[in-house]
Symmetry: C2
Subunit: 509 residues, 2 copies
C-alpha cells in the first residue's frame, strides 16, 4: 500500500465517474484518482474507430435538447453535434395479427404479404386502424398525466406511487389500452426505451423514467427530443475530453475494485490485483447491480444491499448495417423503423427500433438497430453473420426494398456480455422496488457516495444522467469536506443556449 492519501477515489471511469472527477478537481479537491475496471474509459459509451466505418458508437450515442448537463460538457470540451436524419418519413411495420383482421385506412398505409407498413412524419404517429392512432395519442397523454404528481427526485413519496408501483407496464396496457393496435405499439416502445419486456418493469418506473426525461414527446422523439443528435467523432470524445481535463495520469485502467474498508480516518480501496489505495472519500459510479461485487467493511446498509439485488440491467445488442448508399432516403424513408415486437417470431424481426446512422457528410451509409429484451437474450446465441442476415431480411421487409439485403459491412456490440456493465441501457425496476428501496439509491455509506446514471434525476439512464449524477456526488463530497454548504449539493442546470427547450408543435395526425 502506498502511503499517498487521496482526496477522493472514484470507482468507475464512465461518463459519471469522470464528470465527478472533473468537478472535484475544478472545485478544490485536486488529489483525485479514478479506478476503471475496463482497459478503456467511457463505460456504457464506446466508440470504435476503424477505416471501414470511420467511427461508430457501439454504446450510448444520442443527445438532444433538455439534456443540458451533457450539452454543457460537450460544449466545454469542443465536441460538436449533428442531426440524426429525420427529413423523410418514419416507418412502423406491423405484422398481421392472427387475431384481428386489419382494416384499411387511406393515405400512408400499404399492405404487404406479412404485415402493414405505416409511414408517418417525425411529428406524427402511425395511422393505426380502428381508432388505434387516437388511442396512441391517449396513451401518451395518460403517461404524462400519471407523471404529474410524481417527484423525480423522491418518487417513493408521491401519493400515487404505491399503486403505480404495484403493477407492471404490461398490466397497465392490458387494463387501460387493450386495443390491439395501441397495445402492440406500447409494448414495442417499452422494449425500445428500456431494453426490457413490458412485464419486467413497474408502471411507476416507466412513468418516472418518462417524466425525468421531460415527458413522452421529449423522450420518444428524435427531432426536438432525446435522440435529436449525435456527437461528431463519437460519444467517446466526451470521456476522452473529460480524461484530459482530469489528467490521464490520474486514471488507472484495468483496476477491478473488490474491497473498500473504512476506519475513522480514511478508506482503503483494494483491487483484484492486490493494489491498495488510501483515500478520504470514495465515489462509486457503476451499474447498481455491480456495486455489491465490492466487499464493504463496514458492510452496506441491508436495504441498500437488497436494492442492488433488485435493479438488473436491461438487455441490448446494438447493431449497425452499412450499405453503399442511403437507398432508404430515395424511397422517402428517413431510416427510422419501428418493427412490431409483440409476437413470438423473434427471428423474423430481430431489431425493433432503428435510426439512420450515416455520417453527416453522407459517407458510410448505415442503419443502426437495437436488438432488445428477449430478442437480445435469445439471438445472442447466433453468430454475428446470422444476426446480420436476419436483420437485413427484416429491413428488406420493413423498408420494402431488396437493397437492404446487400450490406457492405456490419458492426455489433452485445452489452449483455460486457462484464463491467452487465447489460444496457440502464438498471430497471420491477414492481415494488422503487417505493420500498429507492430511499437507499443515493444514500451515502460512510465515506462513500454514489453516482452513476441510475442515481440521476434528469435523463437518468442516458449520458446526461451520468453527468448530473457524477457532479452531484462530487458536490456531496465537497459538502462533506466543508468546501460548499449542504444546500449547494443539488443544483438546477441552466438551459443550453445552443439547444433551447423548444415546445413541441401539435402532432400531425
Amino acid at each position: 500500500m502506498s502511503n499517498e492519501l487521496y482526496d477522493v477515489i472514484i470507482v468507475g471511469g464512465g461518463i459519471s465517474g469522470l464528470a465527478a472527477a472533473k468537478w472535484l478537481k475544478e472545485n478544490g479537491l485536486t488529489n483525485v484518482l479514478v479506478l476503471e475496471a475496463r482497459d478503456r474509459v467511457g463505460g456504457r459509451t464506446h466508440t470504435k474507430r476503424d477505416p471501414k466505418v470511420g467511427w461508430v458508437d457501439l454504446g450510448g450515442s444520442y443527445v438532444g435538447p433538455t439534456q443540458d448537463h451533457l450539452l454543457r460538457i460537450a460544449k466545454e470540451l469542443g465536441v460538436e453535434t449533428f442531426l440524426v436524419n429525420e427529413i423523410e418519413d418514419l416507418v412502423y411495420f406491423k405484422k398481421v395479427s392472427m387475431k384481428t383482421p386489419t382494416a384499411t385506412m387511406p393515405g400512408t398505409i400499404h399492405f404487404l404479404n406479412q404485415g402493414t407498413r405505416y409511414t408517418f412524419p417525425y411529428n406524427g404517429l402511425p395511422k393505426l386502424a380502428n381508432g388505434g392512432q387516437e388511442d396512441l395519442l391517449k396513451l401518451l397523454h395518460r403517461l404524462d398525466e400519471l407523471g404529474e404528481d410524481i417527484s423525480v427526485r423522491e418518487p417513493w413519496t408521491s401519493p400515487s406511487a404505491t399503486e403505480l408501483d404495484s403493477i407492471t407496464f404490461k398490466e397497465f396496457l392490458d387494463k387501460e389500452f387493450p386495443g390491439e393496435g395501441v397495445r402492440d405499439y406500447g409494448l414495442l416502445v417499452h422494449n425500445a426505451f428500456l431494453a426490457a419486456a413490458s412485464h419486467e418493469c413497474s408502471l411507476l418506473f416507466v412513468v418516472w423514467y418518462i417524466k425525468q426525461a421531460f415527458g413522452t414527446r421529449r423522450i420518444f422523439s428524435a427531432t426536438n427530443g432525446g435522440q435529436e443528435r449525435k456527437f461528431h467523432g463519437g460519444s467517446q470524445l466526451i470521456s476522452e475530453g473529460l480524461s484530459d481535463k482530469i489528467g490521464r495520469e490520474n486514471i488507472l485502467l484495468s483496476k477491478v475494485v473488490n474491497k473498500i474498508e473504512q476506519n475513522c480516518d480514511f478508506a482503503t480501496v483494494s483491487t483484484i490485483d492486490n493494489q491498495i489505495y488510501k483515500t478520504k472519500h470514495v465515489i462509486i459510479a457503476m451499474s447498481p447491480c455491480l456495486i455489491p461485487r465490492i466487499y464493504f467493511k463496514p458492510e452496506l446498509e441491508p436495504l441498500k444491499n437488497q436494492l442492488y439485488q433488485r435493479m438488473p440491467m436491461g438487455s441490448v445488442i446494438k447493431t449497425i448495417v452499412y450499405y453503399e448508399s442511403c437507398w432508404w432516403r430515395g424511397l422517402n424513408m428517413c431510416g427510422t423503423l419501428l418493427v412490431d415486437g409483440s409476437d413470438g417470431d423473434m427471428e423474423a424481426s430481430p431489431v425493433e427500433y432503428t435510426f439512420d446512422d450515416t455520417k453527416p457528410d453522407g459517407s458510410k451509409p448505415a442503419i443502426m438497430g437495437f436488438i432488445l429484451a428477449n430478442r437480445a437474450r435469445k439471438l445472442r446465441n447466433l453468430t454475428p453473420e446470422e444476426r446480420r442476415d436476419l436483420i437485413c431480411k427484416s429491413y428488406a421487409k420493413g423498408f420494402g426494398s431488396d437493397e437492404a439485403l446487400r450490406p457492405v459491412h456490419y458492426e455489433e456490440f452485445d452489452w449483455q456480455a460486457e462484464k463491467f456493465s452487465s447489460g444496457c441501457y440502464t438498471g430497471i425496476c420491477s414492481p415494488g422496488v422503487m417505493t420500498v428501496y429507492w430511499p437507499y439509491l443515493r444514500s451515502p455509506h460512510g465515506r462513500i457516495f454514489f453516482a452513476g446514471t441510475e442515481t440521476a434525476t434528469v435523463w437518468s439512464g442516458y449520458m446526461n444522467g451520468a453527468v448530473e449524477a457524477g457532479e452531484r456526488a462530487a458536490r456531496e463530497v465537497l459538502a462533506e469536506r466543508g468546501l460548499i454548504s449542504k444546500n449547494q449539493i443539488w443544483r438546477d442546470e441552466p438551459e443550453s443556449k445552443d439547444f433551447p427547450h423548444k415546445p413541441f408543435d401539435d402532432m400531425v395526425l
Copy 2:
C-alpha cells in the same frame, strides 16, 4: 498458495454445500474442502443456544412428509423430530376493511373492535363471509391446476409458461379472485410463503414453487405438510452432523471467496484474506444473487450473469416471543395466527404468520412469528424492544388475550442484515425471469457446478431443496470425473418410511 490440489472445493457451508461435501466423500472424492464466509456452518439455518431459551431456530426450522432428502439425512445423523402443535384451532384475524361491511356467519366468527377473528381446524379454512371460504378453496384448486402442466425441473419448457410468467401473482388474484376475502387471504399467504409482496413475484414462479413442494395442501399445511415438525435441538444439528461426517478439519470458516480462475488443468479459489486454493472442481452453494460477488475468470456466461441480477432474496425478520405459559392453548388456540396483511397499517400487525414454538416437553412456551416483505423492510428501523411490543399488542388482538402483553423473553433475527445470505427464505423471480433465464440456473461454468436450494426441484427454498441440490451437484462432479454415468446425476429420492406421503383428507368446511 499451497500446492495441495483438492478434488472439489465447495463454496458455502450451508446445508447444500455440506450435503454436497458429504456425498462426494462417501462416493469416491475424499479430498474435499468447504470454504464458508461466516464464522459458523448452517447458512440460512442458525440455532441459538442460550439458557433463556434452551435452543431456538433463528432461521430455517420446519420439516415434514415429502421432504425425503432432508428426512433421510436427519435419520442418518440421528436428529429426531417433533410435531408442531396444531391440536387446538388456528386463527385468521382479518382487519375490518374500509371498503366492504363484513357480513355475519354462524359458528366460529367473533366480532372485535378492529377486526374479525376466524378460528378453524388444521384441516379447514377460515369461514370467510360472502362465499369467501368457497373462493379460497377454488383458489387452492386453481393454483394446483395451473401447476399441472408445469415441469418442475424445466419450467421454462411448459406450454403455459410464457403466459404465467408475464403476470404477477397479485395481477392473477386481481383478475381471477377479486373478491375481497379471498384476495386478502391470497396476498397474506403469498407474503407468508415467499417473504415478498405478491406484486414482486411472477405467477409462474408461485405456481412452480407450490408444485415442487407437492401442491397447495402440502406446502401450506403444518399437519401432513411442510411445517409439520421441527428438529429436537434445532436444525443446526443437521449442519453440525454433516460437518462431523465431512470432518471438521475440511471446513474452513470466515473464508470469503472472491475470485475463481480456471485453466486447462485446475481452478484456483481465492479468498478476501488472500489465501489461494487449487482444486480440480468447484461447487458453489450460495444465494444466487451473491454468486457474482466472485470474480470469475473466464467470466460467467452473460445470461447466467444476468440471471443472478434477477433473483433477489426475500425479506424476513424471524421473531420468537416467550411467555410463562402456553395461555393460547387454554383458549383453544394452537398458536397459529394469520394476520391480514393487505392494508397499510404495518405497525398494527408486524407479524403475518405464527406458529407455537414451545418445546415438545411444554417448556419455554413461545410463539414464533415472521415479519415479512414490506413489513420487514419498514420495521427493521425500529429497536428490538419496539418490535417486540408491537408484536405483543397484535398477538393480544389476534388471540384475544392480554396474556400476550406479558412476554418473559424475546428473540429475533433479521435475515435482511445477514450479509452472506442477503435475505431469506429464498431467491424470488419477478415476471420474465424464469422463462428466459432459468435455463442457466444449474448450467455448469467449466469446472464449476451449482448447488444451493434455489437450484433444487423438490422443496426448493427449503432445507430439503438444499440437500437435493447439493447432492445433485456432487453427482455432476462425480459424472465429470467418470465415477458415475451422466444418467445417474438425477435420482428419485425414496419415500421416507417414518413419514410417508399420506394423502390429505378432504377439507373440513
